[in-house]
């Protein structure tokens, strides 16, 4: 059998347990051996499920190991990595969780998974010096309205339908996690100005404001984005800079 066909048959049988063990493979009896081929099937599944487990530890805790393994198994069966760089694999898992029928009852699960994915993206993002509070202090207050801020490469903004930031934070330590004090939709900022990833739950209006700034609006334009009475853009700018979410100012 030509090389291409041999590998093709092997690869299809790996991904589909309903297919027979490739007939050109031999065990010690000189014929196909199901247990031998199962080692490869198992390696593929266990390795990819392991990558999803490592990326989504809180999601896993929320549903338990067995449920998570089954859910991750269903994901890896239909979505193989597009590249050998597994640190990028599993970014589509939150959307899969949102569609995964057995998890429907846990409505906040996809939001928590989205936060965990953003955390990993921030962790591996390009290095860049973040704007400092001192640099912000050197700006003439008369120039504030026209300022534009570019986001730090690690910064991610997230809008949730549930208190996913509080749920995630409550699961950062071992032991029983306390439920959120208020069950409300939260927005979050994920940043990594130095070595450590930080997650901040944004105050009201903070998401719309930061999103406008990151999209290139001036400070004065962005301050209108939340359409909130008494919105104080100054405190939000300081919050973003302190979190290391801004790279440059102009």
């Amino acid at each position: 059998m030509p090389f291409e066909s041999t590998i093709d048959v092997f690869a299809r049988a790996l991904s589909d347990p309903a297919r027979p063990v490739p007939p050109q493979t031999l065990g010690r009896e000189g014929r196909p051996d199901a247990r031998r081929f199962a080692v490869y099937r198992n390696n593929v599944a266990v390795g990819l499920i392991g990558a999803i487990e490592a990326r989504y530890p809180v999601t896993r805790r929320l549903v338990g190991d067995d449920f998570f393994r089954a859910m991750a198994g269903a994901y890896v069966a239909q979505e193989k990595p597009r590249s050998p760089v597994l640190i990028h694999y599993g970014a589509g898992f939150p959307d899969f969780v949102a569609r995964f029928e057995p998890a429907r009852a846990i409505a906040y699960l996809p939001d928590v998974a989205r936060l965990e994915n953003a955390w990993v993206e921030a962790y591996h993002a390009t290095e860049a010096p973040a704007l400092t509070i001192a640099a912000l202090g050197e700006i003439d207050p008369g120039d504030y309205d026209g300022l534009r801020f570019s986001p730090h490469p690690a910064a991610r903004l997230l809008r949730f339908s549930h208190p996913a930031g509080s749920i995630w934070a409550a699961h950062q330590e071992a032991g029983e996690a306390r439920p959120p004090e208020a069950w409300r939709a939260e927005d979050a900022l994920v940043a990594r100005p130095e070595a450590d990833v930080l997650v901040r739950i944004l105050p009201p209006g903070g998401y719309q404001f930061a999103r406008a700034l990151f999209a290139g609006a001036t400070l004065a334009e962005a301050a209108e984005a939340p359409a909130l009475e008494g919105f104080d853009p100054g405190s939000h700018v300081v919050g973003l800079v302190e979190a290391g979410a801004i790279e440059t100012i102009r």
Partner: protein, 300 residues
Amino acid sequence: MSASPASPTRVAAPLPKRGGVGLKADHVEQILAQRPDLGFFEIHAENYMGDGGPAHRRLEAIRALYPLSLHGVGLSIGSPRPLDRDHLKRLAALAERYEPGLFSEHLAWSSHDQGFLNDLLPLPYTGETLATVCDHIDETQEALGRRMLLENPSTYLLFAESTISETDFLAEIARRTGCGLLLDVNNVVVCATNHGFDAIAYLDAFPLRHVGEIHLAGYAEAEDDSGRPLLIDAHDSPVRDGVWALYAETIRRLGPTPTLIEWDNDAPAWPVLLAEARRAELAMARALALPRGKELRHAV
């Protein structure tokens, strides 16, 4: 990006003929605090293909103090399909940035139409597959601007169409491409059990003069359909006695060689891993102290 500005702060690149271990994130803090006397660290290249972040910060700190071996697990050299050019570029960029003493990859495939399958999968050994693998190695060595080492695989089955022995296949690859070889002694023991051949006979037939590094690891035990033992290259436990014995024999024939302990899954606490590397260095020293002619012979 030029590599030269970083060089003065780094130790020399070549791997010493000593023991080394796979670098685990959880161990880095202890390593940097204790600076243990160790030959080198090996990394899986794909784990360092993010743009930035703590992984690179840790690796820079380690590389300043120790020689580094770059070990790829995703290039899919043994595939009939063309190599992934983007992946070759990523490997070349890592090699330029960290100046590893050597780069190695596997005689295996891992990518197909569905995507990356995340396992080192086997291929038949024929004239056709030999030509393909040699082309891929030529392309890799060209892209990285250096000689690479190719590792012998652990396999759980054979192919009906194979016409060339694994040792002849590897020898011919080395002859045609000029690449070196990475001899995984655990893989030899695993394959000898799985396919029912004598590990010493494999060593006799292996083109040892091309070997630039040795891997040692632990295996797991299962059974095949006929109830025969089936060893699995699990990298999740200490090196077994039979592997240590074959390692000693390999060193007697080969001389001192950089030797890596692979313990990637369920990795132990740092002192345990370090002790395993020390054991390899001791085994190497003992093997070299034994007079020649005391080699293990074929099982009767």
